[in-house]
Amino acid sequence: MIRSDVLRDIAPVIRDHLVVCNIGLPSQELHLLDDQPTNFYMLGTMGLSSSIGLGLALAQGKKVISIDGDGSVLTNFGTLPTIANNVADNYILLIIDNGSYGSTGDQPTYAGKKTSLTAVARACGCETVIECQASETKEVLEKALASNKMTIIVCKCESGNIKVPVITMDPVVIRDRFMKAVQA
């Protein structure tokens, strides 16, 4: 399974929750597969999906799922200690770890080599860290949502992309639509 297969699998589970989606292909794929007002698409700023999601979870009570990638977490490694030390039980960080920088041509990341993001998250103090295979992601995510415990999920999947159009929605429209969904 590649990332878009994982997103297609989990779409019915994340649809009813606030989702902050990583820059590039992940946002474009989610937008194509299941556009929702509860989705916040990042059009720029690699690395900050987990930070935006944590800030959102700390500021209000609804459940928040940040969809991130291994490359983006590597870019913003400082996020993991911040998450560990500011526990928000309405927060789930889903790292889709395909061992590559998918949006830029599938160059390998260190997470696909020696570095284990699962081990790093645990070393940073994150208490509930679950590594799973792509096919298990939906079930693991459902359980994490039901547990009401802050959870980091590292989903190991294959590298690869589908052809998707860019998102042409205006950023202020994305943000405004999302904020109305947060308040609804």
């Binding site: 902050v20 916040f40 990042m42 059009l43 720029g44 700023t45 690395g47 900050l48 999906s49 987990s50 930070s51 935006i52 999601g53 944590l54 800030g55 959102l56 979870a57 700390l58 500021a59 209000q60 913003n76 400082g78 996020t79 200690p81 911040t82 500011n86 950023p171 202020v172 994305i174 943000r175 999302f178 904020m179 947060v182 308040q183």
Partner: protein, 168 residues
């Protein structure tokens, strides 16, 4: 009233309840005061762009955020300011310690000080410079302006404003 208390009183009076900080010696008193206030959730960040991500999320969650950092952070956060805070039109008061100005003991700080205002200007970020303690009387109006126009706004606070660096 200390200047630290006055600054944090203004934040609280403007309903700012989510503050992220990356420390600077000059800002230590303000950071202590923020940590002590029950009205504010204080979340230290490891890097300033991470902090701006946290603030963006908190804003979309209905809280008014602020970031406290050194001017060296402008070099770190230009992409985030342009592609997140400005692109999505989000308000962000940035209380910035303006290192490398008069009374600065560390030469390297001057290297970013000389770029600070030029970079903020290039980004079209409204910028205020606190040099004397009485300049802080404008903070309340600056905060109101920030949340009126939904922009990042810089408040540079130099060593003269803080009364020097003490024993450093």
């Amino acid at each position: 009233m200390s200047i630290h208390t006055k600054i944090v009183d203004d934040l609280v009076a403007n309903d700012i309840s989510f503050v992220t900080t990356v420390p600077c010696k000059q800002l230590a008193g303000v950071i202590d005061e923020i940590e002590a206030r029950p009205e504010i959730y204080h979340i230290p960040s490891n890097k300033e762009d991470e902090g701006m991500g946290l603030c963006a999320g908190a804003f979309m969650g209905g809280k008014r955020p602020a970031i406290i950092m050194q001017n060296t952070a402008i070099g770190v956060t230009i992409n985030t300011l342009a592609t997140l805070t400005q692109f999505y039109r989000m308000p962000l008061p940035m209380l910035i310690s303006y290192r490398g100005e008069l009374r600065e003991p560390v030469a390297c700080q001057v290297e970013m000080a000389v770029h600070t205002k030029a970079l903020l200007n290039q980004l079209n970020i409204p910028t205020y410079h606190f040099h004397k303690e009485s300049d802080a009387n404008e903070l309340d109006a600056i905060l109101k302006y920030t949340f009126m126009c939904n922009k990042p706004v810089a408040i540079l606070t130099d060593a003269s404003f803080w009364g020097g660096y003490g024993d450093q």
